[in-house]
């Protein structure tokens, strides 16, 4: 009999999950496929927050900026350098990772509010830099076109299905890599560093180096998610990365539970579903323009507060605790 390690089990699980998603992709319409692609993209962004904040204990309010780095890199390598979209997305992971490495070297010795302030300033300043360099296209930005699906998939293979395939596969592969990393030695050292930096240092963990590494890894994941995001909206511009994007991703991460990767897809679903729920609510009860456009923001914020108050360590934790109580 084949010996199954947790890593192998996880691989099989992810392949099975991906297979189900692709079958589902054949059964639903274009709109659902498009929304599904956004779910995968947000799930990736949430993964990068969980990696950085949940595991290494560094709070970032500027993940939108890291996503922008990945997005611009991807757009430049596909549109200007004429590379294959898949290679463009891989390059965007690495460039965003290197950017995160440099950023990490600068900010790793900051903590708490100092780190939050620096990342927040980065989130508002980095996208505006695009206006400085003509190659980045200024306010209008540059197009991001992954092209249509290869001909061998047949004529009925729509553009949205192609988006769905790319984003779902990218997200599955990336989350699988991160999950493997975090279930091993790195996950344990990250947690040790987060919960007690001094004790971690005394046991021989190089805290500074580890913090920088967390930044680089998280940034790479965020870069991929940024690349996917602008693929879905077909173009990259500074306005695609507002402060509210950074906050929305953080909301998703808190709703999923910051300390486990298991629910990232739930976080992505919530971020995509809330505007839809708000829309259907509005179409039922109506209201002024001020009401209809601010309702999604209201729901997101309310959910954020409810999540912090009632399930501070994530919904999974709540289930575990109930389970525990029953046993006792």
């Amino acid at each position: 009999m084949i010996k199954t390690t947790p890593t192998k089990k996880r691989l099989l699980l992810y392949i099975f999950f991906g297979w189900i998603l692709l079958i589902l992709g054949d059964r639903v319409g274009d709109l659902e496929l498009y929304q599904g692609s956004f779910v995968a993209t947000y799930a990736l962004a949430i993964t990068s927050i969980i990696l950085l904040t949940g595991y290494s204990g560094q709070l970032s309010l500027g993940h939108g900026a890291l996503m922008a780095v990945g997005a611009y890199t991807g757009a430049l390598s596909i549109f200007n350098a004429g590379l294959h979209p898949v290679i463009g997305l891989i390059i965007s992971v690495f460039v965003a990772g290197i950017f995160g490495l440099i950023l990490g070297l600068v900010v790793a010795r900051l903590s708490g509010p100092y780190l939050a302030g620096t990342t927040l300033a980065l989130a508002i300043s980095l996208p505006t830099l695009a206006n400085q360099f003509p190659i980045l296209g200024g306010e209008e930005g540059i197009v991001f076109d992954v092209g249509v699906a290869p001909a061998r998939f047949g004529d009925e293979f729509s553009q949205y299905k192609w988006f769905f395939w790319i984003s779902t596969l990218a997200a599955l592969i990336m989350v699988w890599l991160v999950a493997n990393l975090l279930s091993g030695r790195y996950g344990r050292t990250f947690k040790a560093m987060r919960d007690n930096p001094v004790a971690a240092q005394l046991s021989g963990i190089n805290v500074g180096q580890l913090k920088v590494m967390a930044f680089a890894l998280s940034s790479g994941v965020a870069g991929l998610s940024g690349g996917l995001l602008v693929m879905l909206i077909s173009g990259v511009s500074p306005s695609a990365f507002p402060l509210s994007l950074s906050f929305a991703v953080l909301t998703g991460a808190v709703v999923t539970g910051l300390y486990s990767l298991k629910g990232v897809i739930l976080g992505g679903l919530v971020l995509v579903a809330i505007p839809e729920i708000a829309d259907s609510l509005v179409s039922r009860i109506g209201g002024s323009e001020g009401f209809t456009t601010t309702l999604p923001g209201f729901l997101v914020s309310a959910l954020l507060i409810l999540a912090v108050v009632f399930t501070p360590n994530g919904p999974g934790h709540l289930l575990k605790r109930h389970h525990h109580k029953k046993k006792v």
Binding site: V106, V107, G112, G117, Q132, F291, S301, L304, P312, N313
Partner: protein, 311 residues
């Protein structure tokens, strides 16, 4: 020939310089009010209050409504400052304190306050949208916003900018008197410095904290009423001001009120000089660069005490 041309160029450079200094002062003054509001809350409850942007805009909308009804800017200013104080106290008493009671342990403790205030910010801004709508409103400045004339040219510094400077200076003077010369100020400083010992000496630390939130709210209300007349009023109008106030507070070390003002002035001067002399597009990047340089030299900010308790 050279002499004939040299004088006007020198004159232009001079007015450009004077303008840069004066606008730096007036924008630094507004950043300072916001930074003070954030530092006051941080000192008393160890929370970075992101909802401050929402509180300040909400009180400015209240002030706007007062102006619509009565036509008096000064009455509106008073109402906005008072309602800012009330709102700050209410938020601390009925929102933050219960959350802190619930969340005491686990790694979420570090993040919960940030997330809670971010959520509150979203809710306040949505409520503003429900009540007043999203269209840009404007508040008429009480005095002229036309620039002063210096050596024959009109500069970008008006009577209103001067008024802002005076008001901010007065507010700071009041804060200094409150903190240094009164018993309330002593209680505020004691509960910020060492809550346990303050409690043992008979100070009602919880109420004093709520008072800290109230003063911060008043400061934010003043910031809104002074900032908006040169700008527009909409639910997200103060988001950027919050970011700049936060950056200023971090530069100043978060602990010290004096540091907040110094940080705000450094930021105001850096931004205005960079945009005047290098490129107007450097507005946001300058803030980031200044912050990173300061934090690289002093990771705890300029006036943050080394031995300050961690959050």
């Amino acid at each position: 020939m050279i002499r004939q041309y040299a004088l006007p160029i020198w004159g232009f450079k001079m007015t450009q310089f004077i303008t840069a200094v004066l606008t730096s002062l007036s924008s630094g003054a507004i950043y300072a009010l916001m930074a003070l509001a954030l530092v006051l809350v941080w000192r008393s409850t160890r929370v970075i209050n992101f909802a401050q942007a929402g509180q300040a805009v909400l009180t400015t909308y209240i002030g706007y409504t007062v102006i619509q009804r009565t036509g008096s800017y000064w009455l509106a200013l008073l109402v906005a400052v008072v309602s800012g104080a009330i709102l700050g106290a209410v938020i601390d008493r009925f929102f933050m304190r219960p959350i802190f009671k619930r969340i005491k342990s686990g790694p979420i403790v570090m993040i919960a306050p940030v997330v809670a205030t971010l959520g509150l910010l979203g809710i306040i801004q949505a409520i503003i949208g429900f009540i007043w709508g999203l269209t840009n409103q404007s508040i008429e400045a009480p005095v002229s916003t036309g620039g002063f004339k210096v050596m024959g040219t009109v500069i970008a510094f008006s009577r209103y900018n001067l008024l802002v400077l005076i008001f901010v200076a007065l507010a700071m003077l009041l804060l200094i008197i409150l903190f240094q010369k009164t018993d309330i100020g002593l209680a505020l400083r004691a509960s910020a410095y060492s809550p346990e010992i303050a409690k043992l000496s008979g100070i009602k630390v919880d109420s004093v904290r709520t008072l800290g939130w109230a003063i911060a709210g008043a400061s934010g209300g003043l910031a809104g009423m002074l900032y908006i007349p040169g700008y527009f009023l909409f639910p997200n109008a103060m988001d950027l001001l919050l970011v700049f106030g936060f950056v200023a507070a971090v530069i100043g070390g978060l602990e010290s009120l004096f540091g907040a003002v110094v940080g705000a002035m450094i930021l105001g001067f850096a931004i205005n000089f960079a945009t005047t002399y290098i490129s107007a597009k450097l507005f946001f990047p300058t803030a980031f660069i200044v912050l990173v340089v300061v934090l690289l030299l002093k990771p705890g900010g300029l006036f943050g005490s080394k031995k300050s308790r961690s959050a």
